[in-house]
């Protein structure tokens, strides 16, 4: 499938952490043509396999997304809500959302009108309790339609900007799901010995449990985790934000040095431009949980820089995405039994 078409469709599907069924089914279907087996596990992670002699390599990107949950229905029909994952309340005023009640309904996030705020209130961002979802319904009708605990997903929209850049909700981490799909497609025409497991993990935004449980089931020799990292924007700290137009390869104590060197060597050989991302401790990706599953899963972290992470306008560069897939496919094709033996030499 065309990468752009896949992205357009997959970013439109809801998949809040813990409720990834719809997006999992869609992604499983997309991998079907390229894989020998595809299944969805007990925690909604998709596991798609291209069989090989070995070693066993797990390629992992998460399929869940941040969102909200209805916490209370007020007597005027306004809904109070809480975040699932790291939702920035600054993005919410004036945002359209989908409330997944008995039926899917549109909601608009409101707050007290600015001209009615005191001067000191006007200088502060709205807090969660000052925000609400407007369903355009009375309290009675709202209670018929929605219950406390129902999920709320952010507004969609897949916007093509200039220079092959795209702004969408859930580029974190559906852009990396697109990289895995493209990699599986590229591998159809390449010789591989590795036993490859493409894992689209659930619950990354709240924990990483999806990758850990899927990792237990797969029991891989190595892993490659794909996630988004921060692309430069004004005000972003210099050491934690990267150019938008090429992937980053992480270095740090959670990253296996041999496997990382291999990845960098292959990037150079394939002439894939990349940036080095130094991560001194936790990576805040599936890597953190996955690395210590069973007896340990050494691995590398390959990231796509995204602007405005955890907003509904996460912006990425399609050519950087395609380069990630080209690099990953070459990496998968290079994996050999020797790597297992040389890990700690």
């Amino acid at each position: 499938m065309q990468t752009e078409q896949f992205l357009r469709e997959v970013t439109a599907l809801p998949g809040l952490s813990g409720g990834e069924e719809a997006v999992a089914r869609y992604i499983a279907g997309a991998f079907e043509p390229y894989c020998d087996e595809v299944r969805i596990d007990a925690l909604n992670s998709v596991i798609a396999r291209i069989r090989g002699r070995g070693p066993k390599v797990m390629l992992c990107a998460h399929l869940d997304e941040i969102g909200m949950m209805v916490a209370k229905i007020e007597d005027d029909g306004a809904l109070r809500m809480r975040g699932i994952g790291g939702v920035d309340p600054r993005i919410l005023p004036g945002m359209r959302v989908t409330v997944h009640g008995k039926e899917r309904v549109l909601g608009v996030i409101g707050a007290k009108a600015p001209h009615l705020l005191s001067p000191s209130e006007r200088e502060k961002n709205y807090a969660w309790d000052e925000l609400y979802i407007d369903l355009g319904m009375s309290a009675e009708r709202a209670r018929e339609t929605v219950r406390v605990g129902d999920c709320v997903s952010l507004e969609g929209g897949f916007t093509e900007l200039m220079n092959g850049r795209f702004a969408t909700k859930t580029a974190d981490d559906r852009s990396c799901a697109a990289i895995l799909l493209r990699t599986a497609e590229l591998l159809q025409r390449m010789d591989t010995t590795a036993d490859l497991y493409f894992v689209l993990s659930s619950q990354e935004e709240v924990s990483g449990y999806g990758a850990m449980t899927a990792g237990f089931g797969v029991d891989p020799d190595f892993c490659v985790v794909l996630d988004v990292t921060h692309a430069k924007t004004p005000g972003a700290p210099e050491l934690e934000a990267f150019e938008i137009d090429s992937p980053t390869i992480a270095r740090g104590p959670f990253i296996h040095p041999y496997l990382r060197q291999k990845l960098e060597d292959i990037a150079k050989e394939q002439r894939v431009a990349y940036q080095c991302e130094v991560v001194p401790r936790d990576t805040y990706t599936d890597m953190d949980g996955l690395e210590t599953v069973r007896g340990g899963v050494p691995g590398v972290l390959l990231s796509l820089p995204v602007r405005y992470m955890h907003t509904s306008v996460e912006t990425f560069d399609l050519s950087a995405l395609n380069e990630c897939a080209r690099l990953l496919a070459a990496y998968c094709a290079s994996v050999s039994g020797a790597w297992r033996d040389e890990l700690w030499i």
């Binding site: 600054r90 220079n163 702004a167 972003a236």
Partner: protein
């Protein structure tokens, strides 16, 4: 044109050209070429000759323009620097989509990711010095080639019906008024009526100043959208008016104290004709009625508003029954003047 088509047109203050052209086409078809003119301030003035002599000349006015953005420059990285045109709280534009310039180039307004924010960033409202439109340009030159300074942008927001008879769209303020002027155009009235579609309300009531002086009507009914603030606050004393409770009749706002008799007449008319209405309780906002009231030797004026939640955002919300009520009350007034 229906309300959806009207809301989807881009007309930030000073850029009403496309909307004026479409409205003029419709007005000429309805009233004839000779009864439609554009004045020196870009206002579109449409005359309907009264059927009886001795009735006062009434102007019904609505503004064509909407709040939007204007490009000021670009950063070295190719992000557009901009300012609002009209009053837009920067809190409602973070993580939103816009369309820039005549080519309607898509852009997004991002903000620094939550992971990278300092404690201060979390509290502080991002101001216009720290917000940018990202069109995907790679550098300053490319950004300014595509969107030179003074290019204007609008919210990229669809018109969506939702809930029980509500609509969510950009520019409800004041396309609801424009919509009702178009509907009023299809009838005749006892007295002379001028329907005025005016420019640049959102940047200081500029267009109506010219229209009010040129027309000098005896009575003006100003059709507006006004902030409601009726939900989610718990306290009722800060409510201005409520969406779904009918057309809001103003006795006073921040730019006019309306003539008491005219206010009372509107309330009585609404009662008598069973038109859903409410008093605009909060004294908020300024509008074109001020110019009509005080142009030349002065005249009577009143404002009838559709309550709008989240006004001046890409997701303003109003109730279609209130739009209907604004029309019904204005029509009743014109027939009983």
């Amino acid at each position: 044109m229906d309300l959806k088509q009207l809301c989807e047109i881009h007309a930030p203050s000073g850029n009403e050209k496309e909307l004026r052209r479409l409205l003029a086409e419709e007005a000429r078809a309805a009233l004839g070429e000779e009864n439609v003119r554009t004045d020196r301030m870009g206002n579109l003035l449409c005359s309907i000759r009264g059927q009886e002599a001795g009735k006062p000349h009434v102007c019904v006015s609505a503004h064509m323009d909407e709040v939007g953005f204007i490009v000021m420059g670009a950063t070295e990285e190719g992000l557009l620097r901009f300012r609002p045109v009209g009053g837009i709280d920067p809190r409602v534009i973070v993580s939103k989509r816009v369309l820039v310039g005549e080519k309607r180039l898509p852009g997004v307004i991002g903000a620094i990711a939550i992971h990278l924010q300092t404690r201060e960033d979390m509290d502080r409202v991002p101001d216009y010095d720290h917000l940018y439109i990202d069109i995907g340009a790679k550098n300053k030159q490319e950004a300014l080639e595509q969107c030179p300074p003074a290019s204007v942008a609008c919210f990229d927001a669809p018109y969506t019906l939702f809930g029980d008879g509500f609509v969510c769209a950009k520019a409800l303020d004041d396309r609801v008024g424009c919509y009702n002027l178009l509907r009023l155009m299809r009838e005749s009235y006892p007295g002379d009526v001028t329907l005025a579609f005016v420019t640049r309300e959102e940047v200081g009531l500029r267009g109506s100043a010219g229209a009010a002086y040129a027309l000098q009507p005896e009575i003006t009914v100003n059709l507006e959208g006004t902030a409601a603030n009726d939900l989610g606050c718990g306290e009722t004393q800060t409510q201005v008016c409520a969406a779904g409770a009918g057309v809001a009749v103003s006795f006073m706002d921040n730019s006019s104290i309306y003539q008491r008799r005219l206010y009372q007449k509107m309330m009585r008319l609404a009662d008598r004709n069973a038109i859903a209405h409410q008093v605009k309780r909060g004294v908020t906002a300024v509008n074109d009625a001020a110019n009509y009231q005080r142009a030349a030797g002065g005249a009577r004026a009143i404002t009838l508003s559709v309550p709008c939640r989240y006004i001046h955002s890409g997701a303003s919300v109003c109730c279609l029954n209130d739009v209907e009520a604004q029309y019904a009350l204005t029509r009743a007034f014109l027939q009983n003047v």
